[in-house]
Symmetry: C2
DNA sequence: CATTGATCTAAAGTTAACTTGAAGAATTAC
DNA sequence: GTAATTCTTCAAGTTAACTTTAGATCAATG
């Protein structure tokens, strides 16, 4: 009787080490992202993580978003736009990329606006700063905690 | 003999509470900024902080810089461009504002570049991501710690 | 001059985004 | 078949930028 070799249809998935090598993310970061529900690897029967090829894209998206100043919470909600029941298609990615790009545009616009206001404010060297209305605490790049309540409020008394 | 009234040339300075009111910063944040050497109030003989009017501008600069994503270390080094022996003049502020604006421009350029690359990468919906070279960990908005070593590296094998 | 409110210092707590370490289990390599 | 890797979890540590708390002192007011 011939011995039938174990049928390996295709590898079960990528290990965390392989994903780490491909993305440049450390294994600990990847585990953290799983905890934060940015990726959802499945497990082998012995409990090891196995990732899909599509997760590389997912993690790349996470990394790019982060480099642009988005928080994990924001990224998670962006990724929520992807289907959970199947591998995202080209169209799926296009959709969330567009939303993402929109947010990015807003952020760039905001920065540019602030920069221009700065030109007319601190940049001008005027000593009162009284006209400056750079008031927009909500839009701070990585606003955390309570933080400043408003920006600029020097009354033009002396000087 | 006539009693000579105490000569009050001008108030000794602003209290931390007054600075807090004018800038919108909490007293604790202001104390923290002193610790971080972003402001240098002097002290009364009983140990209370007294600020100069010019410190309001200084703190405003700190707040704006922060809202644009600069770290305290970066702000400190920017402020180092101001004279320490005298009250900064209009020209002093213009000088550091220009340097600041330059950094801001760089940051905006960088963001825009990334956004455009994104368009041709994730944005395109292509499934390989293999051409993407969004590699610039140094320029991450608030890059902290070790972090990702590079961005995007999916080889165009299957899918 | 007694009370109320502001300020002081020092130490500990907070959040985000991870890393590091320990100790054990699974896989791979020879 | 054993040694070397790689993986697992869980807990604790790290950095930035502050806040919170406590107990004490200072300043302003009726």
């Amino acid at each position: 009787m011939k011995k039938i070799p174990p049928l390996r249809l295709r590898p079960t998935g990528l290990t965390i080490g392989q994903i780490s090598d491909r993305t440049g993310l450390s294994p600990s970061a990847i585990r953290y992202y799983e905890e934060e529900r940015l990726v959802h690897p499945h497990r082998t029967d012995t409990g090891q993580r196995r990732f899909e090829r599509a997760d590389i894209r997912r993690l790349s998206f996470v990394m790019i978003s982060q480099s642009l100043g988005f928080s994990i919470a924001e990224i998670r909600s962006a990724l929520a736009g992807l289907p959970s029941n199947r591998t995202p298609t080209k169209t799926d990615w296009q959709t969330i990329s567009e939303q993402f790009r929109q947010k990015l545009d807003e952020r760039i616009t905001q920065m540019t606006k602030l920069r221009d206001q700065l030109d007319g404010c601190i940049g001008c060297g005027c000593l009162s700063l009284s006209n400056c209305k750079l008031y927009n605490p909500e839009d701070r790049a990585r606003g955390r905690g309570t933080g400043p309540r408003y920006l600029m409020g020097d009354s033009p008394t002396t000087e």
